[in-house]
């Protein structure tokens, strides 16, 4: 009887080895992605920067992934990326077949916290990202005289959710430069904001989209106040950085830490992520493909068309590190941000325990 059991166990083991070896062989001959489709969830509505970068990457990814899978893009807008991020964290399997194109808003929402945040961006595995040159904060020409006049009607800043990275410039501008501002938020996306600034419903807004800014300038609607990054943009060389604008009024210590915590790192713009638990071999494959996509001359050309010159790709590992660093800002700096948001009537999330 014992012998029979042993023989049975050995046979089972043999079968296991055989299947595993056959699997390896099969995998060698048939790449994992062959005949499969990768779904890329976009955390915003169609037509914006996040959507455009997802569509650009998705077009070329299949070319560089062994097995040449098909790619489809699915928009899941809402809550400044919260809906897509929550869904991605709780519903998506780590099989490399569903990815998400996210933006810095997803990180900003997490830092802000609150009961609706059911994801942790540190757990996602970043495949790679693109960073456009910093946002350009614009003001309507007819509202410019009111900016420094506290007796005049406040200049209206418009945003989707009041937590975008560039909003930090306006809040610190109000606090340290005396800008006369008030904020409204809730616009679904950049196309509605572009219309609102043309209509005069809002007076101040910022975007990284160079074409849009140039159009608005050419139409005589706006003038540019500053750029978000720590160095001037190549395509808007005469526009000062926000730090230049602050000059000697630039705060130090906690106040500046808070600003940097909100404004985020320049690398954090649009990035492609895989869910927690995605196996390392798959991550390696996807990251290599992303890197090759970014070196494709056609992507380089098209990227200039959509993002403006000066956009840069960043490897996934680097963005992962930046996200961790960004989220790990000291509690005191986070409290400072909350205090500023409360002071200026911007949404404040509940603190995470």
């Amino acid at each position: 009887m014992r012998r029979k059991i042993l023989i049975f166990l050995f046979s089972l083991l043999f079968c296991g080895f055989f299947i595993a070896a056959a699997g390896q062989l099969f995998a060698a001959e048939h790449p994992y992605y062959e005949g499969k489709t990768i779904r890329i969830i976009v955390s915003s509505s169609p037509g914006g920067g996040t959507d455009t970068s997802a569509r650009l990457v998705s077009r070329f990814m299949s070319k560089y992934i062994p097995g040449n899978p098909k790619t489809i893009v699915q928009n899941m807008p809402g809550g400044g990326g919260t809906i897509a991020n929550n869904y991605f964290a709780s519903e998506v399997k780590p099989d490399g077949l569903t990815l998400m194109q996210d933006s810095s808003s997803g990180i900003g929402n997490f830092v802000r916290g609150g009961p609706t945040i059911k994801y942790d961006p540190r757990k996602f595995k970043v495949i790679g990202g693109v960073a456009r040159p910093g946002s350009l904060v614009m003001i309507r020409n007819d509202a410019r005289p009111r900016l420094m006049d506290s007796s005049a009607k406040p200049v209206v800043v418009g945003d989707t959710d009041g937590i975008r990275t560039w909003v930090a410039m306006t809040v610190w501008g109000a606090e340290y430069l005396g800008w006369n501002l008030r904020w409204i938020y809730g616009y679904p996306g950049s196309r509605e904001l572009a219309l609102a600034i043309r209509q005069g419903e809002i007076d101040m807004w910022a975007t990284q989209n160079a074409k849009l800014v140039k159009d608005l300038q050419r139409e005589g609607v706006v003038q540019i106040l500053a750029t978000e990054e720590d160095r001037r943009r190549e395509d808007f060389a005469d526009v000062p950085t926000f730090v230049e604008l602050l000059g000697s009024k630039r705060p130090s210590g906690l106040a500046w830490q808070g600003y940097l915590g909100w404004a985020g790192a320049p690398e954090l713009d649009k990035f492609l992520v895989a869910p927690e638990g995605t196996p390392d071999p798959l991550m390696k494959l996807l990251r290599e493909a992303f890197s090759k996509v970014m070196k494709d001359p056609e992507v380089d050309k098209e990227g200039d068309k959509f993002f403006g010159e000066g956009w840069r790709p960043h490897p996934g590992e680097k963005i992962e590190a930046v996200i961790r660093e960004h989220i790990a800002i000291p509690k005191e700096a986070l409290d400072f941000i909350t205090k500023m948001r409360q002071k200026y009537g911007l949404p404040v999330g509940e603190k995470k325990s």
């Binding site: 569509r55 809550g79 572009a194 609102a196 159009d215 068309k305 949404p347």
Partner: protein, 498 residues
């Protein structure tokens, strides 16, 4: 300008462009015919291919051609089986399906296709005529005006569909409430989602439409144990339908203006043009007692408007690069990829491409109408099939259409719930259209009210255009109620006199 117009025409009638346009029309018609598969998702699938094309004229021919005709073929299912093929043909059901039941499917279909064709022409004409004044017109509407328009839409359809204005308004309010389900897009706060991730994104419109209209009619058909058409003949309706459109030319022009107008307002969305036009027809036409029971004017109004809307949709897209809806947002992405620069350039250096869009709207509509006319007779024959042959495929059709919304098993649960709601609403005389429109406009209504209040406080109520729209809104709500009571009193008096 004439030179640019001719250049645009020459560009889209070249054989290669015509072939792409024919392909676009074919895909657009097929997508319109199949419920659940929306134009935007098809455009999204095609986008990677389109973005690799080099010639902007071919891109215009293909995707503008496809987008322009989605609402033409969608009338097939709206009229024949009470299932909207696309969101733009929801109002067509109200009179189209009763006509099919009366054995006038051919008449309803031919009228709908010709109305679509002429509505499409009208939209293209509006786009052409508005070129010099595009910008100020689009800029005149801000959040407060959009809020009043959404309010107007729900209340007008609530009052006018069916003979129970109060029930209609309540159904509209219920629709608005259903529209709030999901995560609030401003704050991410969960509303009526009960921690179910399926509900975070809100309820798909297609499920509400299929449930409210599709299943209850199938149950009715099965319980009647007849074919869809009670009359056993195809009738002379085919030519009659075409002539109907010309008989009601003034209605067609008015509803096409409404369609184009809704289209060019970036913010109202694409699925409301037919409802606004239908409500306008009910409100302004004489002898309106037949609306909802198979009046050809209901079909003409809805179908004329939904195609005219497409031309209007391109106005903000081309003038500012601000798409009117999801489809135009994707088209815009493709345009930028192939070097078309929406914005002021479209009226100067790229005027020929603007004209290429206009010509494509015209030619694609002709192609789609010819295609639909060709197939209308064989497809319309399904009205004469006995119930046991037609009910199972329609049920399968509806369930597949519903499952295509998210490919989630909850899609089917949601369909069942709305089917039950639709069945009871139908049975107890509650109008269903306001509920559907409430779902369509609820989210926008809330957004524009929020933006109006946070931006202007209560000042927005004093804006001249808001006040003008409020007067129109109140008049359009109060007038039918007063007129209805007057008619009722007159009828009672005549009975008492007799």
């Amino acid at each position: 300008m004439l030179e640019a117009a001719l250049e645009g025409l020459a560009g889209v009638v070249q054989p290669e462009a015509m072939a792409f346009m024919a392909l676009g029309v074919l895909i657009g018609s097929l997508v319109g015919f199949l419920p659940g598969i929306g134009g935007p998702s098809t455009l999204a699938i095609m986008l990677p291919f389109v973005m690799t094309m080099k010639d902007p004229l071919l891109v215009i021919a293909l995707i503008v051609g496809m987008d322009a005709v989605g609402n033409t073929a969608s009338a097939f299912t709206s009229i024949l089986i009470s299932v909207p093929g696309s969101s733009g043909s929801q109002a067509t059901i109200l009179d189209g399906y009763p006509m099919a039941k009366k054995g006038e499917a051919a008449r309803a279909l031919s009228a709908s296709f010709v109305a679509s064709l002429l509505g499409g022409f009208f939209g293209a004409f509006v786009l052409f005529a508005s070129l010099p004044v595009l910008r100020p017109v689009v800029l005149a509407f801000s959040s407060p005006e959009f809020f009043i328009l959404t309010l107007w839409g729900v209340s007008m359809v609530g009052i006018l569909s069916g003979n129970a204005p109060i029930k209609g308004l309540l159904a509209g309010i219920l629709g608005v409430l259903i529209g709030t389900v999901g995560l609030d897009t401003k704050s991410g706060i969960e509303r009526y989602a009960f921690d179910v991730s399926y509900l975070w994104e809100g309820i798909e419109l297609v499920l509400v439409a299929l449930g409210l209209f599709g299943i209850p009619e199938v149950i009715d058909l099965a319980s009647r144990k007849t074919s869809i058409a009670k009359a056993e003949e195809f009738g002379r309706g085919y030519l009659e339908g075409i002539l109907d459109v010309f008989r009601h030319w003034w209605l067609l022009i008015r509803t096409s203006v409404i369609g184009a107008w809704i289209g060019f307002l970036p913010g109202l969305g694409s699925s409301v043009a037919d409802w606004f036009a239908y409500a306008h027809a009910v409100q302004t036409e004489k002898n309106r007692e037949n609306f909802g029971k198979g009046d050809i004017r209901g079909v003409i109004a809805s179908e004329g408007a939904n195609n005219a809307k497409e031309g209007g949709d391109y106005i903000p897209t081309l003038a500012f690069g601000i798409p009117g809806g999801t489809s135009t947002a994707l088209i815009l992405t493709a345009f930028v990829a192939v070097g078309i620069n929406p914005g002021p350039d479209m009226l100067t250096s790229q005027l020929n491409l603007t004209f290429a869009v206009i010509w494509t709207l015209v030619i694609a509509n002709i192609l789609a109408t010819a295609l639909c006319m060709l197939f209308s007779r064989p497809i319309a024959r399904m009205c004469f099939l006995p119930f046991y042959a037609i009910v199972p495929p329609i049920v399968a059709f509806i369930f597949i259409g519903a499952f295509a919304a998210n490919f989630h098993s909850y899609d089917l649960t949601a369909l069942m719930i709305f089917s039950l709601l639709g069945f009871f609403m139908r049975r107890y005389g509650w109008p269903r259209p306001p509920l559907l429109l409430g779902v369509v406009l609820g989210e926008k209504m809330e957004l524009y009210l929020w933006l109006s209040y946070t931006r202007y406080g209560l000042e927005w109520l004093r804006r001249p255009m808001v006040m003008a729209l409020m007067v129109l809104l109140i008049a359009s709500v109060v007038y039918p109620i007063v007129a209805g009571r007057k008619e009722k009193r007159a009828a009672e008096a005549s009975v008492a006199g007799a």
